[in-house]
C-alpha cells in the first residue's frame, strides 16, 4: 500500500517534470533557428538603419581567454571600435582556459549565447559540426577580402564541411627556448640544428646530481610533443582525414616517440610531463631545465617572473625533412544564436583589421595578416616564430580531434611508463583513431 502510493507519486512527478523538461528544448531551439533568418532583415536594413542605430544601441558580447596584459590591450581596441561605430558597444568577458568550453557549451545549450567568441583553433570544427556557429563565407560582406589577407594555414582551421565558420584572429607556434647561461657553462655555442644534436645537447646539459634536466615538456597532451613529432616527419592522419593507420603509427611517427622515450629513459628529459613535477617555465626560469619548447607568450612570462633569465629562441631542430612545428592560435567566431549578426560581423571585421592586429601584437599576440610579417610595428622576437610558422603544421581539423588527442596522449603515456613499445602503443592509437573516423 505504502509502496504503491510512493510509486504513483513518483510517476506523477516524472510526468509533471517531463512536461516542464519537454517544453524547454523546443523553446530553446527558437533563437538558434532564428539565426539564419536574422540575416535577411539585416541585409535589407542598412539604408534605413543608419539613423536608427543611435536610437537603439546594440551590445556585442565577446568572450575570450586572454591574459591580463592582452585583456587590458583589448579594452583599447574595443574603445577605438566603439568610437568608429556609434551605436555598437562591445562587452568583453574573460574566462580561464580550462573552464571556457564549459561556459560556451552551456550558453549554447541554454540558448543565450555571446555574439562572438575567440576560441582555440582546434575547437571550431567541433562546434561547427553541431551547428553552433554562423557560416561566414557568403554571409559576411568582406569575408573574401579578409580571407585573402591572412595566412592560409590558420584560415584553414575555420573550415568545416566546405564552409568557413570563423576567421583566424591570431596565430602562434612553438620554438625551442634555451637557457643561454647553461649552454655557455656547458661550452655549447649554438642551438642544436638537428634532432641528433638536440638529443646530445639535452644529455650534455643534464646533471642528475643537481636535479638538472637538459629538456622538459609540459605534459603528454599532443600539443607538447607535437613540434618534435612533426619535425621527425610524423603525421596523425592522411590529408583527407580518412585513416590514421600508416600515419600515426608510421616509421616516422614511431621514430619521434622513440627519441622522446630514449631521452626520458636516459634521464635527459624531466619526468614532470607525467604530472606533478616542476612546470616548464618555472623549471627553466630557475635553471633546472636547459631547453623547453614553447610559444611567444614566454617573453611576457619570463619578463614578469624571471627578469634575470638569459634565454634565447631557436627553430625546432631539423628532422629528416627539415624543421617543423605545430600551429596554434585562436579563431574568432560568430555564434549561431546571435541576435545582432550585423553588428557582430562589424566587430569581427574590426578584429581582423590591421589596426586591431597591430595593437594586440604589442602584448605578444601574433597577427595573422600576412602583410604584417616583418613590419616595423611588430615586436622583434616575432621574427623567429614567423619563420617557424612557414613549416609548422596544423592539428587535424576534425570534430573528433579531442578524442584523437586523447588517444595519442594515452599512447605516449604507455610508452613512457614502459607498458608498450612505441610501435605497439601507436598501433593501438591508430586503431582507436580509425574507429573515431569511422563513426
Amino acid at each position: 500500500m505504502k509502496n504503491s502510493k510512493l510509486f504513483v507519486f513518483v510517476v506523477l512527478l516524472l510526468v509533471a517534470s517531463f512536461g516542464l523538461g519537454a517544453c524547454a528544448p523546443a523553446a530553446t531551439a527558437e533563437p538558434a533557428a532564428e539565426a539564419p533568418a536574422a540575416e535577411a532583415p539585416a541585409a535589407e536594413a542598412p539604408a534605413v538603419e543608419e539613423p536608427a542605430v543611435v536610437a537603439e544601441p546594440v551590445t556585442i558580447k565577446y568572450w575570450h581567454t586572454m591574459s591580463d596584459a592582452e585583456a587590458a590591450k583589448l579594452e583599447e581596441v574595443i574603445a577605438s571600435f566603439e568610437a568608429a561605430n556609434p551605436g555598437i558597444s562591445v562587452e568583453s568577458t574573460r574566462y580561464a582556459y580550462s573552464d571556457f568550453k564549459t561556459a560556451l557549451l552551456t550558453s549554447i545549450a541554454g540558448g543565450d549565447v555571446p555574439d562572438t567568441a575567440r576560441m582555440d583553433i582546434a575547437w571550431v570544427s567541433e562546434f561547427a559540426s553541431q551547428g553552433a556557429l554562423m557560416q561566414l563565407d557568403g554571409a559576411m560582406a568582406d569575408f573574401d577580402a579578409i580571407a585573402a589577407s591572412v595566412f592560409p594555414g590558420p584560415l584553414s582551421t575555420n573550415k568545416w564541411d566546405g564552409h568557413y565558420y570563423g576567421l583566424p584572429q591570431n596565430t602562434n607556434t612553438q620554438v625551442l627556448v634555451y637557457n643561454k647561461d647553461m649552454f655557455d657553462a656547458a661550452g655549447i655555442t649554438a642551438a642544436p640544428a638537428t634532432m641528433e644534436e638536440f638529443a646530445k645537447v639535452a644529455c650534455d646539459l643534464t646533471d642528475a646530481s643537481k636535479g638538472v634536466y637538459g629538456f622538459a615538456e609540459g605534459g603528454t597532451y599532443f600539443w607538447a610533443p607535437a613540434p618534435v613529432f612533426y619535425a621527425m616527419g610524423g603525421k596523425v592522419t592522411d590529408a583527407e582525414i580518412t585513416t590514421a593507420t600508416g600515419y600515426v603509427n608510421s616509421a616516422e611517427s614511431v621514430a619521434a616517440f622513440t627519441l622522446l622515450k630514449d631521452l626520458y629513459d636516459q634521464g635527459c628529459m624531466s619526468p614532470n610531463l607525467m604530472g606533478g613535477g616542476i612546470a616548464t617555465d618555472a623549471g627553466q626560469g630557475t635553471g633546472i631545465y636547459g631547453m623547453i619548447i614553447d610559444g611567444p607568450w614566454m617573453v611576457d612570462i619570463y619578463k614578469g617572473n624571471y627578469p634575470e633569465l638569459n634565454y634565447e629562441f631557436a627553430l625546432i631542430p631539423a628532422g629528416p625533412n627539415g624543421t617543423s612545428s605545430v600551429v596554434g592560435g585562436e579563431d574568432v567566431v560568430i555564434l549561431g544564436g546571435t541576435k545582432n549578426a550585423e553588428a557582430a560581423q562589424k566587430w569581427v571585421s574590426y578584429l581582423m583589421s590591421k589596426d586591431a592586429q597591430v595593437a594586440l601584437a604589442q602584448v605578444g599576440v601574433m597577427p595573422t595578416i600576412s602583410s604584417l610579417t616583418g613590419d616595423a610595428s611588430m615586436p622583434a622576437y616575432f621574427a623567429i616564430f614567423m619563420e617557424q610558422l612557414k613549416t609548422a603544421q596544423a592539428r587535424v581539423p576534425s570534430p573528433k580531434w579531442s578524442d584523437m588527442d586523447n588517444a595519442i596522449n594515452n599512447a605516449y603515456q604507455r610508452i613512457l611508463v614502459g607498458e608498450q613499445d612505441p610501435q605497439a602503443a601507436l598501433d593501438q592509437a591508430a586503431s582507436e583513431i580509425d574507429a573515431l573516423l569511422a563513426q
Binding site: L13, L14, S17, F18, L20, G21, A22, A24, P25, A26, T28, A29, A32, A33, K101, T102, L105, I108, A109, E126, F127, Q130, G131, A132, G211, T220, S270, P271, N272, M274, G275, G276, G277, I278, G336, G337, S402, D403, N406, N410, Q413, R414, L416, V417, E419
Partner: protein, 302 residues
C-alpha cells in the same frame, strides 16, 4: 513515524498551514532540482545536439550500454569504490578516536577543536592544489620527507605517473580534509551519552576497553549510521580532487565516475553520454540508499 496529530479536528487547518510551510522549499526544488533532473534523464536517451536540441536523435539505451562496455568507465567505477572505501574507513576510525580524546577534560580543548576543523572549512580546490604541490614528483615536501629525512626511498617517487600511486594524494587529501568533520559529529554524539552511566561502569570495574565497546559504541550506533551514509554519498560523488590532482592521467586510469561524466559532457560535448554516466551513478547511489535511508530514518521521529 508519522504520528497522528492529537487534534484531529484541526487536520484541515494543519493541511493548509503545511502547504504554506512546504511551498517555498518545494517550489525551489521543483524548478531548480526535479525539473532539471528529469530533463537530463531525457537527454541520456539521445545522441544530443546541444546547439539544436530538435535535431537530437533518440538512441534508446545506447549511451548506457556504451558506458557499461567501456573499460575506462570500469576503471573509474573501481577507482571510485576504492577511494570511497579507504576514505570512509579511515575517516571513521581516525575521527572516532579524535572525538574520544577531544571529549576529555584537557587543557586547550577549544583550541584543538578549532585546529582540527580548519581543513574542513578550507575549500576543496585549495586543498587539492596544496596536495598536488606537496606530492610533486620533483620538489615536493612528501618526497623530501621520505628521501632526505626518513631515508625510506633513495629516489624521488613520481606519484602522478603511476595509476595506483596517483590515487594516494587523492585519498589522503580527502582523509585529511574530512577527519575533523567526522570528529565533530562523533563528539556531538558522545555528549549525549550520560557521564553517570560511564562512571557507574567504571565503579563496577569495567576496563576502558569494555566501556568503549559495551557502552559508547552501541550508544553511537545512530551517529555511525548517519556518518556512513553521508560519507559514502560524498565518496561516490567525488569530483574535485580527482579532477585537479590526476585529471584522469596516466592513461585514463585514474578517473572517478564524475570526472568521466564531466569530460564526456564538457570536453567531448557528448551530453547524452554524460547524462547516462550520471544516471548510472545515481542509480547505484539510489539502490544503496534505499537500504541506508531506512536505517537513517529510524532513529529520528520515534
Amino acid at each position: 513515524m508519522m504520528s497522528r496529530s492529537p487534534h484531529a479536528p484541526r487536520a484541515k487547518y494543519q493541511f493548509v498551514s503545511a502547504l504554506l510551510f512546504l511551498l517555498p522549499g518545494f517550489l525551489l526544488l521543483f524548478v531548480f532540482f526535479l525539473g532539471p533532473l528529469v530533463y537530463s534523464f531525457r537527454i541520456s536517451f539521445f545522441d544530443w545536439n546541444f546547439a539544436h536540441p530538435e535535431r537530437s536523435v533518440f538512441v534508446g539505451f545506447e549511451n548506457y550500454l556504451g558506458q557499461i562496455n567501456n573499460p575506462i568507465f570500469h576503471r573509474a567505477v573501481i577507482n571510485t569504490a576504492v577511494y570511497t572505501f579507504f576514505t570512509v574507513v579511515a575517516k571513521l576510525v581516525l575521527g572516532f578516536f579524535a572525538a574520544i580524546v577531544l571529549n576529555q577534560k584537557i587543557p586547550a580543548r577549544s583550541f584543538f577543536r578549532v585546529a582540527y576543523y580548519l581543513p574542513v572549512i578550507t575549500s576543496w580546490v585549495i586543498v587539492s592544489l596544496l596536495f598536488m604541490y606537496m606530492f610533486s614528483g620533483m620538489g615536493g615536501l612528501v618526497n623530501y620527507l621520505l628521501k632526505d629525512v626518513f631515508h625510506l626511498i633513495n629516489k624521488n617517487i613520481i606519484w602522478l605517473a603511476d595509476p595506483i600511486l596517483a590515487l594516494v594524494p587523492v585519498i589522503l587529501v580527502d582523509i585529511w580534509k574530512g577527519v575533523g568533520w567526522v570528529a565533530v559529529i562523533f563528539l556531538s554524539g558522545l555528549q549525549t551519552i550520560s557521564k553517570e552511566l560511564l562512571e557507574a561502569a567504571e565503579m563496577d570495574g569495567a576496563t576502558p576497553w569494555q566501556r568503549l565497546t559495551r557502552i559508547t559504541l552501541p550508544l553511537l550506533r545512530g551517529t555511525t549510521v548517519f556518518l556512513v551514509v553521508v560519507l559514502i554519498l560524498g565518496g561516490l560523488n567525488s569530483y574535485v580532487p580527482f579532477q585537479l590532482i590526476t585529471h584522469g592521467n596516466p592513461m585514463d586510469k585514474t578517473h572517478s565516475i564524475l570526472t568521466l561524466m564531466y569530460r564526456a559532457t564538457f570536453s567531448r560535448m557528448d551530453f547524452g553520454n554524460g547524462a547516462a554516466i550520471s544516471y548510472l551513478l545515481t542509480l547505484f547511489v539510489f539502490a544503496l540508499s534505499v537500504v541506508q535511508l531506512k536505517m537513517l530514518n529510524k532513529p529520528i521521529g520515534e
